[in-house]
Subunit: 357 residues, 2 copies
């Protein structure tokens, strides 16, 4: 009879007090509840899963017993039997990127309210761990929310999956995101409104979905103003601070600088924008007096930075919430109601100003 066997388990039936006298008390089991309520375990289980199928009187007795014992179904047993884990995996490209934390909160809140837990996996864009993670996911979670723009691998191919922010073109799964293109277009419109005519774009990594959309929006914005896109004004970048720093040289006099220097730059994210601004200041240029710089994302630092950064605020908590809701719908067998992209907000701060005469 193994370790525990039929010996009586340490247990305090105390409804309230008694939490103090410790001594490892084994958690209540369904049989304890059944005995106390004088019903079978099947009935106890039914009270949770299908309350309407249990007579009101019986249900009340069971509920009282559950409360008295503080019983919570053993998740391992439940998972084993029902093949449902009540957990969702969230895959990030980089946990250190502050952009994600608030999204995570939105997801977590929503899932928790539905009785689901969240497991976070921090996976680089092309980590070798992806395979192991897929295998893990198969057993440990009911669904996957991807924030890294990459499917997890064949092992997890057939499980409920949702792409968030970094959409996955062509994948037949719900995709939740903002309208990057429209937002970028608005940034450019803002700059144009300030009188800028030569506006550069500091790009994200080539091929990145977000970058493709933001670049398209940038061109839209130029066209709206009757300006011709100029390839010399689209500068390569990769979302890192260093890329921003490097781009500064193009604005300074000397070799490598753009022939006709732009008066404003739209950077594809805040981190690059900050790198750029810092390097410009170091070199003696004033922002926004000499050059205006706008970013994208509205990370916490954007407001803290001097000059405070003009940028696009993403509804991060809502993005998380909506993705989680889509996942819950999917898990409940409902079709996820297809909402359009979420609204963004242009936040005008101190890093953009009137074009220099």
């Amino acid at each position: 009879m193994d370790e525990r066997g039929t010996t009586v388990r340490a247990r305090t039936l105390a409804g309230a007090g008694a939490a103090s006298d410790a001594a490892p008390v084994a958690p209540a089991r369904i049989t304890d509840v059944a005995r106390l309520a004088e019903v079978s375990t099947a009935t106890v289980s039914r009270v949770l899963a299908h309350p309407e199928r249990v007579a009101p009187g019986t249900r009340a007795r069971v509920e009282e017993a559950v409360a008295r014992l503080g019983w919570v179904p053993n998740p391992a047993a439940r998972t084993l039997r029902s093949q449902k884990t009540r957990m969702v995996l969230v895959v990030l490209p980089d946990l250190e990127n502050v952009f994600f934390s608030r999204i995570l909160r939105g997801i977590e809140e929503t899932l928790a309210a539905a009785g689901y837990g969240m497991i976070i996996a921090d996976l680089g864009p092309a980590s070798p761990r992806a395979g192991a993670l897929a295998a893990f996911a198969r057993r440990q979670v009911d669904g996957v929310i991807l924030l890294n723009g990459r499917r997890l691998g064949p092992e997890a191919e057939d499980m409920p999956t949702i792409a968030l922010c970094e959409t996955i073109p062509g994948a037949a799964i719900p995709q939740i995101a903002i309208d990057n293109r429209a937002a970028a277009r608005r940034v450019v419109a803002h700059l144009v409104g300030l009188g800028h005519r030569r506006i550069a774009h500091l790009a994200g990594p080539e091929g990145n979905v977000l970058e493709i959309e933001r670049a398209a929006g940038y061109e839209d914005g130029l066209r709206d103003a009757g300006l011709a896109p100029d390839p010399a004004l689209v500068w390569p970048g990769d979302y890192t601070l260093e890329a921003g720093v490097a781009a500064a040289s193009r604005l300074l006099p000397g070799p490598g600088s753009a022939p006709e220097r732009p008066t404003a730059v739209f950077a594809s994210n805040d981190t690059m924008a900050i790198g750029l601004v810092g390097a410009l200041q170091e070199a003696g240029l004033a922002v926004p007096d000499d050059v205006s710089v706008a970013g994208f994302d509205d990370i916490e630092f954007a407001a803290m930075y001097r000059p405070a950064l003009t940028t696009v605020r993403q509804p991060r908590r809502d993005l998380g919430r909506v993705a989680a809701e889509a996942m819950l719908a999917r898990l409940a067998g409902r079709e996820a109601s297809a909402e359009g992209p979420l609204a963004t907000e242009l936040v005008v701060r101190a890093s953009t100003g009137p074009a220099r005469r």
Copy 2:
């Protein structure tokens, strides 16, 4: 016989290829492995848990079968039977605080190498969710690493617990941290070395363990230099950006300013230091020419900021690693080897400079 019953399960015995023709393939079970290796399930299980008790030939057969089928033990079944989840819970006060992300990585790497998973819970300093979390922890994890300086509650009282960074005075659990006091002392010594004599301290929240230590180190540093601590130079704060901004007024001429204004400030964290520097610059004071400012933590932003911040670097990844190792030791029944506090590094950047003559 329920849903699945005795029907033959969809399964491909393919060792390699064949991953393409999808159709939800049920994962292999221990009985599948046993059948293929022509042994009992007990033997299969033993190959994993106690390989030395299995004859080499048999072991090889089993291992080959495991590999062929790609079998991974069902975690729910394993947990149910063994009462071990192979998961560790990490409790944070605030996931949005960038300070934690690298620590998390250190923890995760170390745990993963030992076959453990990590679950993150984002809990405010005094969240009502703590109770629910404790109940969750009881069933879902084998141990808890606390980064928020608070025990989880009676439910989780008797499980392996480790405090990290924010220690919990008096708790009889392993505590991993840096020597905040010594580090603060070194910051002050650095400022003294630059010629500063009036050095203020922008404090953290009252009662916070970290603040208590850092404040003590600040006084140590002053005493080392033969300077008398002056209560008027210890300014209240709470680790937020706003607290830093607010503190700036004390350095500016006008009402509320310190009588004899300090030439340097040691802030208890980087966020406050940045708030302070930003507000000072806004008000026309130069950093470090007029005032030197040092922070603590070396968050990513510290290096990005202009002027780049002088601060104390914590070995974040190592903190995570060491805590995880202590947890693994505890879970394996070994006593955690009591190391002392981890070493920090003073990072001198541009926000501190010689005292003004």
